[in-house]
Symmetry: C2
């Protein structure tokens, strides 16, 4: 209010000397209320449930909070850049911002794999704790700094499902020769268990399972899996998703673009990402439970647990894989040390809180 009054008075004072019209326009040009237009590229189909609706909500929040001073246009995968070029596009400034998953960028920085989800790693609640109060954010910024990127949490799917199988998994030996669509660290673990991990984009999963080109696939959880119709081409739906126990999405922001924003718009962007990080997990928790009920009751899906000895074997192999990946890169090792230390402590805490409570209640 004060600033505007001063501005108006100064305009008028000058106008009194040299004519109102011209100086008013000059003052308006110098005003701080500049409008910014940003492009936000994503790795998801436009408005894909959960993953794709989150950046749309983010853009709406920012637009509303800034009264239109920061307008963000969201692009689905392939609209401006391909799904897996989000990191490069934002790093180079083709887009000011992106929404994706850090583990896609392991080729750029091995340490990036710790900032989405790790086999037998942190849950959503634990991940938020590590990132925000356990030193994770600082490490993440260090990993992305060479790319001129500021990373921020962008939502979480919660614990994913183990996947869709056309073969029963009754023992570790049933994993041998299993052709399964499972990317990243989870795929490497499967390979060590004797399986054959396959990387396929989402759009090819259904047909590959139908034709028998693959024996199994993981995707996300009931909400997204129901939308894909995977229950039509697979016999068994296994749990839990040991390979992705709480996948955190990411916002990446081009630092040069961010620094051009006034402080209030910077704060608006930061706070909106926190709100989205909270919102996505709430949405998945609710939609997943409704979808699971529909899968079981309407589609008669056979939902079953991996046997304990299979999970134990996968956990041993996971620890080996993650330790080896970390040992090969000094920054990955630094991140892993922090992550592992947090996980060990939080396990002890959850043994007396979340885990103890849910086991007592259910």
């Amino acid at each position: 209010m004060k600033r505007l009054t001063t501005l108006l008075l100064s305009v008028v004072a000058i106008a009194g000397l040299s004519g109102c019209q011209k100086d008013a326009e000059q003052a308006a040009v110098a005003a701080p209320q500049q409008t910014f237009k940003w492009k936000l590229v994503t790795s998801w189909p436009k408005n894909f449930p959960g993953l794709g609706t989150a950046p749309e909500r983010f853009a709406t929040m920012v637009n509303d909070m800034s009264a239109g001073r920061l307008q963000i246009k969201v692009y689905g995968a392939g609209e401006l850049v391909p799904a897996l070029q989000v990191f490069d596009a934002v790093s180079q400034g083709t887009a000011e911002m992106g929404h994706s998953g850090a583990y896609y960028w392991k080729g750029k920085a091995a340490a990036a794999q710790f900032f989405t989800s790790v086999p037998f790693g942190l849950t959503a609640q634990e991940m938020n704790g590590w990132i925000q109060y356990g030193g994770g954010q600082q490490l993440w910024e260090e990993v992305y700094a060479p790319f001129n990127l500021l990373p921020l949490p962008g939502g979480n799917t919660g614990v994913q499902m183990g996947g869709w199988f056309n073969k029963e998994i009754n023992s570790v030996s049933d994993l041998e020769g299993l052709k399964m669509r499972i990317p990243g660290l989870g795929g490497e673990v499967l390979a060590r268990a004797g399986g054959t991990p396959v990387t396929l984009p989402g759009g090819e999963i259904f047909t590959s399972l139908q034709t028998g080109a693959i024996d199994a696939t993981e995707w996300v959880g009931p909400y997204n899996d129901l939308a894909f119709g995977l229950y039509k081409v697979a016999k068994h739906y296994y749990y839990p998703g040991w390979h992705e126990p709480g996948s955190m999405m990411e916002f990446v922001i081009n630092k040069t673009a961010f620094e051009k924003l006034p402080k209030d718009l910077q704060a608006i962007v930061r706070v909106a990402t926190k709100a989205i990080n909270e919102d996505m997990l709430a949405e998945y928790t609710t939609r997943n439970q409704a979808a699971l009920t529909e899968l079981k009751e309407k589609h008669g899906v056979d939902v079953r647990a991996f046997p304990d000895d299979v999970l134990s074997k996968l956990q041993v192999l996971s620890e080996q894989v993650v330790a080896e990946v970390s040992a090969a890169d000094p920054l990955a090792q630094k991140v892993y040390n922090s992550y592992k230390n947090y996980r060990d402590q939080v396990k002890a805490y959850h043994a007396v809180s979340e885990q103890a409570y849910i086991n007592a209640r259910d």
Copy 2:
């Protein structure tokens, strides 16, 4: 930008007719960039760890995002109004906003008890799902509408601890005659198990336990309990906190004050509450685990689980108490039906996700 330019041009146009100075002042008064100053009253000591730091962070976020156009001053309990008059003060407009816990207002509206935590009820993640995507928010607004209040989630402590005891709890009979500081629904459950619930403000707990005036107390969790020094005056630290499995704090906003804000400031307030709701749980998760380690390793605290049969009995009694409280009030019954339906479904989902995963990992 356009708006300001138009404003300046119109000021100047009028000035051309009748003199710049006077009309500029009138236009400034009508300008949209008004500054608002709000009071935010809380039920916590000023800057109390977690509960009290959250509203301070909220005020900072709002100030930063609004470039000082909405300035919020936070008051600790008793500074402007007593801890348990937050609801009334905001309802009547003494303060524009408050930060507290809904279950304190059961005397105003029985249904309010469902919006903090319920014995054997929802965890933090589940509560966020119910409130935001399961119909909880709409019901909460209905409960608070007669009081001219808009409620919004304001953080979560996660699963609390069962409490500090100077007597071992080895069977249900050990609860008989137990004098324990435990308010609300949890206290009613203890009473039905033969105990004597006592209501005491936080500041009197330590001495009451030390003198033997009470045999036991619950408070929050390791982070807050360590700060209170309760380990010095109690022998055993029990888990889990069956009575408060995920206590959601609340922001309450005077609706008349809220409606006076321009749309962008309204959006800023709403989004900042979501960010705080996410932030507090991350903070508690991290600080609780560090505090638990300190309690065990530095202070040698005996951390132990309630026996299974004690938890089973408390669960049966809890279901009875909650059903009876609901049956006595139509709106409480409506809220309970929604809450219970959500809990039953989410239990089924967590059996294959969070619960299955944590049990496999740990």
